[in-house]
């Protein structure tokens, strides 16, 4: 039966990770990085997460050297990383791992798990499951050519998984013939980049059919798991706003005692309560290979994206002037939430998927003369 709760292992993982993030990636550090360094990712943090906690290999099966933990745990990790808007390329690595799991390339997976190599799937962050991804590159018999724009989590990758016209290729990100250019991203804590392949050496790891399957699986997993990150983002926004409204006084009383505000926050809490159930359902379906996974993923993005955006918007609004400053972390969450709402396709697209899967057909346009 579907398990929507967190089990003890997951809670332990959460506690570990939360403590590590509190020490090594407080929001002050995230803000400082966003404000002014050339290095968008927190490499030290990423090394700790992959090295000490082995997060990079969490979803890789144990027999290939990974932790074999599965996607329920991955979801909990994403929840905590969302809560901290941690600038690490975890989601991208999960996506690539999922693609590789579908391609049946045990060598590469094993290498990933044991050598802690960064890997990213070279598709636009807005690519949605179920919508064909145009191959981003062509293979001329000896090298890759092509361009892919707005890719998430590829700046930190050593390896790139590249869908080309005749299959899936793996390329060295720093090889000659590969140009990775950062773009200015709405969410600076999850930097995006454009990649140009011009005579890039690569190795083919899957044919066209397997590639299509791998992309669908990866994007479905992305949509399903991103929901947990969105829950984490929303929860931070709620907790922080509640804390502020308890302290902040106007008109001789704490602002949080005004019912108009209490009710707004109660509504956010109700939304998060539902979003958490939806996100857990998606993670559980993904982890168990449930036939409902495609629907669960679409449901997750049709629902959770808006919850995170709403929570972040309320966070900015209810903090008043301070909430509108650069110094306050609220904007980091707003930007994360809003850009995540476009990731793996918009809510509207996911609603179309829901409609198709549960047989709620759109009206057929009437033919008029």
């Amino acid at each position: 039966m579907t398990n929507l709760r967190y089990d003890d292992t997951e809670e332990a993982l959460r506690a570990n990770l939360r403590a590590m993030l509190a020490t090594h990636s407080p929001w002050t550090a995230v803000l400082a990085r966003v404000a002014g360094t050339e290095e968008p990712y927190d490499r030290d943090l990423w090394d700790r997460l992959t090295g000490e906690l082995g997060l990079g290999a969490l979803a890789v099966p144990a027999e290939l050297g990974g932790a074999g933990a599965g996607f329920r745990e991955v979801a909990v990790v994403l929840e905590e990383l969302g809560r901290a808007v941690a600038p690490v390329p975890y989601l991208g690595s999960v996506l690539a791992t999922r693609a590789l799991l579908s391609c049946d390339d045990p060598d590469l997976l094993g290498q990933l798990a044991t050598e802690n190599r960064g890997i990213a799937l070279a598709v636009p962050f807005s690519a949605a499951p179920g919508v064909p991804v145009h191959p981003v590159a062509v293979w001329d018999g000896s090298a890759l050519y092509g361009t892919v724009t707005t890719v998430a989590d590829a700046l930190a990758a050593d390896l790139l998984l590249v869908p080309a016209t005749d299959g899936l290729y793996v390329a060295q990100a720093r090889a000659p013939g590969v140009a990775v250019a950062p773009v200015v991203s709405l969410d600076a804590t999850r930097p995006l980049c454009d990649i140009v392949f011009a005579h890039a050496p690569a190795r083919r790891i899957a044919g066209p059919d397997a590639t299509a399957r791998a992309l669908t699986d990866a994007l479905t997993a992305g949509a399903a798991l991103l929901a947990s990150e969105q829950v984490g983002v929303a929860q931070w926004c709620l907790d922080t706003t509640v804390g502020y409204l308890r302290e902040r006084r106007q008109f001789g009383r704490p602002v949080g005692s005004f019912q108009a505000l209490k009710h707004r926050l109660a509504d956010v809490w109700v939304e998060i309560t539902e979003a958490r159930a939806v996100a857990r359902y998606a993670a559980d379906c993904l982890a168990t290979g449930d036939p409902d996974t495609e629907l669960a993923a679409a449901l997750a993005q049709a629902h959770c994206a808006a919850v995170a955006v709403h929570a972040a918007q309320e966070c900015v609004q209810l903090h008043g002037g301070i909430g509108f400053t650069w110094e306050h972390p609220a904007h980091l969450y707003l930007k994360r939430a809003k850009s995540a709402a476009l990731a793996f396709g918009s809510a509207d697209r996911h609603r179309s998927t829901v409609a198709r899967l549960v047989d709620l057909p759109a009206p057929t346009p009437s033919v008029s003369g």
Partner: protein, 385 residues
């Protein structure tokens, strides 16, 4: 032999079914099921249970449903099953549980909730119905209102004031009210649906023996809180399969009647479907959490979401139907035996759903509870305490 109740239960159910014919006497079957501890498996032995973990209940219910065993029709006795039973379990004496739980579970005794008064709704602790001690009895005077099912009820769970010289929450005591006692008068109160599900109840010198007191004198508020917490779970958290609720009806209409489809309605319908599924999963998650304890604040979230959703879906349904949405089936006043929205017209559902955000704690009150008790926001300044 295994001591894990999860392993033991299927055997117990099978054994029970070997000895009792599901097609035989309905009441006899239900009574025997209660006596075998297979009514609420997590209740104590003797109170309809086996002291097993709560999450095993669905296993038992499914098994009985599978063989077509008679059910105890929860919709007929919602207050009894959803709210009174957990309250009796928590606050009742052994004698009270022995006497009251079995006929409650089998549906022989219908229950009602005598909490609200004309001047005490949301601010329930402002109630003025009095109970005064007279020897071994209590004498009750006052008026209750909006009392669902009072006209069918054998028993009511009653809140009355037993002290006036203390804080308003302290002076309340809870009783089991014998609805057949002299001085209990029930008058139908017609609601905007045309039906009379609820009533006014007048209590005039009603004598209740002290053994019908539930919990300590002056502890009624604590007892009531158990009832209210369970009420929210009962209203919002009923187990349902996907499309099991109102959304399923609308989805079926959509599938069957292509001529009703427009682009705008399609968008609205899918949004509602997604929200309904989110609410369903939240209720499911709540039930999985409940397996390990008492209802928590999530009950309020689920009830609040359920009320809003029911209102939006039923409003959408009336519009979707177009011309048919202008027509109602019947305004004759009736006293429904069960509240089953799914078998009536869309117009009825739309109207009845207006009550969802009032009954069992209004949505405004639930938001206050969430904000103050869950989120810890400061209470509003008040002049009455």
């Amino acid at each position: 032999m295994s001591t894990d109740p999860g392993d033991r239960l299927p055997g117990l159910v099978a054994e029970f079914l070997r000895r009792h014919d599901p097609a035989g006497d309905r009441l006899g079957f239900l009574r025997a099921r209660f006596d075998a501890g297979l009514a609420w498996v997590h209740y104590p032995v003797g109170s309809g249970g086996l002291a097993a973990p709560r999450h095993l209940q669905p296993l038992v219910d499914d098994e009985f449903a599978r063989v077509g065993a008679p059910d105890n029709r929860p919709r007929r006795n919602g207050i009894g099953l959803g709210m009174v039973a957990p309250t009796l379990l928590r606050h009742g004496t052994t004698a009270q549980r022995d006497r009251l739980l079995r006929p409650l579970w089998t549906g022989e005794d219908i229950w009602c909730q005598l909490f609200s008064e004309p001047d005490a709704g949301s601010d329930l602790a402002g109630l003025t119905t009095r109970a005064v001690r007279d020897g071994g009895d209590w004498v009750v005077n006052g008026q209750k209102v909006w009392t669902s099912l009072a006209h069918r009820a054998r028993w009511g769970i009653l809140l009355a004031r037993t002290a006036t010289d203390v804080g308003k929450h302290q002076g309340i005591t809870c009783f089991v009210c014998d609805m057949t006692a002299p001085g209990v008068q029930v008058r139908p109160l017609r609601q905007l649906t045309g039906e009379a599900e609820f009533n006014e109840v007048f209590l005039t010198d009603v004598r209740l023996p002290d053994d019908l007191r539930l919990g300590g004198v002056g502890e009624g508020w604590r007892v009531a809180r158990t009832t209210l917490m369970n009420e929210r779970v009962a209203i919002g958290g009923a187990p349902a399969p996907r499309e099991g609720g109102l959304i399923g009806l609308v989805a079926r209409t959509w599938r069957d009647r292509p001529e009703l489809r427009t682009a705008g309605r399609h968008d609205e319908l899918v949004r509602l479907w997604v929200r309904a599924e989110a609410a369903r999963l939240a209720a499911l998650r709540l039930r999985q959490q409940l397996a390990t304890g008492e209802p928590g604040p999530e009950g309020s979230a689920v009830k609040l979401a359920f009320a809003e959703l029911a209102q939006r879906i039923s409003g959408f349904e009336v519009e979707l139907l177009g011309e048919a949405g202008l027509r109602h089936d019947d305004w004759t006043m009736r006293r429904p035996a069960e509240t089953d929205l799914l078998t009536r017209t869309a117009t009825h559902r739309y109207l009845r759903a207006r009550g969802n955000s009032i009954e069992g704690g209004s949505s405004e009150i639930l938001r206050n509870i969430i904000a103050e008790r869950v989120l810890g926001l400061p209470v509003e300044p008040r002049s009455d305490r």
